[in-house]
Every structure is written in structure tokens, then in C-alpha cells.
Point group: C2
Chain length 105, copies 2
DNA sequence: TCAGTAGTTCTGGACTTATGAACTATTGAA
DNA sequence: TTCAATAGTTCATAAGTCCAGAACTACTGA
């Protein structure tokens, strides 16, 4: 759980994770080459995904040449009920407040 | 919010915060000279309190020679509904799982 | 004024994190 | 099979953050 909070305490990672949760379909790394109008190098992205994986927040599966990232909501919900939902909500509230005119992501 | 998660991503700080929330009465620094059976130097404690304060999680008031720390639940609940509750719950679940025979703290 | 208690600030070493360069893995085409 | 292209990972290192001892400030009571 310490790992979960640490993973989501980073603005880039929480945006990535919120993106993965929001899209029903799995997202590959390159979906996040820019996050909130900021360019993220691939090596950094790869580290971020690693941290999300190790925190148990996502699972990554190779499909051909790309990796598809899926959120592990159900497992986390079982271990820490309400936690993920509350964080994703808080993130949405915050990014809505930050950039009012444009929708989240 | 990033600050809130970062503050509570540390096992010592989340234990401290949970302690402050659990006790109705304000807690001074020295209440936490040991956290989960681990001795914490005063200077480190002071840093931890500073981080909790700057994240908006607590307020510290001097009363004579000591500082009393109060949680700012209500304000946070208003900004990020459910977040603090979910994290404190998750912490309780986790520390119960870790040391089953003994109660939280 | 002094001693004692409570907490803060400073500082340096240890640990983390971000990123460019070089790498591996997979695919599709020649 | 070889080659080029795409997608991600690993490595090295420079920059940043964190911990804890030493020295400090703030307040109280004698």
C-alpha cells in the first residue's frame, strides 16, 4: 500500500494510471509520450510503468511489438476497498480545477 | 493532492497521521519518538511533521513548551471526498494484517 | 538567570530519480 | 534469412531528495 501511494504520488504516474483506468482498452507505452502537455522520454516512461507494475496497480502484457497495460482495479479494490476509486476521483477533481476549460486528458 | 499522497506514502508518516486522526486529542511530537517499535530521532520527526503540515494534512499549534498537532480532516474531506478515509482505512487493514495479535499503533 | 523540556535548522552522506545512449524483442517486407 | 522499423528496457550518471547527528531557538518554572 505504501507502494501504491508512492506510485500515485507522482503527477505523471497518476495521470498515466488515470488514463489506463479511464480507457477501457489497454494502453501501450507510447500513448503517454506526452502527459499533460509535457513530453516524457521513453526511458522515463518505462521506469514509471515499472513502478506502477511493482505497486500492483497495472499488469503489462506483450502483444506483438507493443506492451498493453491494464489496470488491476479488482484486486486492489479487494485488498484496499475504496482506495483506488478515491485517488482517481481526487485526481479528476484536481486536474479539472487546474485546467477548467479543457476536459481531463 | 500529490503532496497528500507523497506525505502518506511513507510508513512512518502514515502511522503518525493515523495516530493523530485516531486520538481525538491533539498529539505532540514526542508522542511519536517510537513508531511501530522503531525509534525515530527528533530531527527526523520534525521533518515528517513539516511534510504533513505542508501537505495540509495537519495543523500544529504551540501550547506553552509543546506543539499540538491536529488533523485537518474536514478541509481535506471537502477538497477530496473520501480520500483520507480510504487511506486511513487501508493503513488500518495493512497494519492489522502485518501484526495480527497486536492492535493498530 | 539558569536548567530543563520541546522542537527546528543545518549539514553531509546515503539513497532515489530522470534521462540520453545503447541495447533487446518483435514484426513485416524484400 | 536478412534488414529496417517499431516498441520497450537497461545502464550510467548527474541532479535531487531524505535521514539523522549536532547545534540551535523557544518556552517554562524555579
Amino acid at each position: 500500500m505504501e507502494g501504491v501511494l508512492h506510485a500515485l504520488a507522482d503527477p505523471v504516474r497518476v495521470a498515466m494510471y488515470a488514463g489506463i483506468v479511464a480507457q477501457g482498452c489497454p494502453q501501450n507505452c507510447s500513448s503517454f509520450l506526452t502527459v499533460s502537455d509535457k513530453a516524457i522520454p521513453k526511458s522515463t516512461l518505462s521506469q514509471h510503468f515499472k513502478i506502477l507494475r511493482e505497486a500492483g496497480l497495472i499488469r503489462s502484457e506483450r502483444h506483438g511489438v507493443e506492451m498493453r497495460n491494464v489496470s488491476r482495479c479488482a484486486e486492489l479494490e479487494q485488498r484496499f476497498p475504496g482506495l483506488i476509486q478515491a485517488i482517481v476521483n481526487a485526481h479528476a477533481i484536481q486536474s479539472a480545477a487546474k485546467a477548467r476549460p479543457v476536459s481531463v486528458r
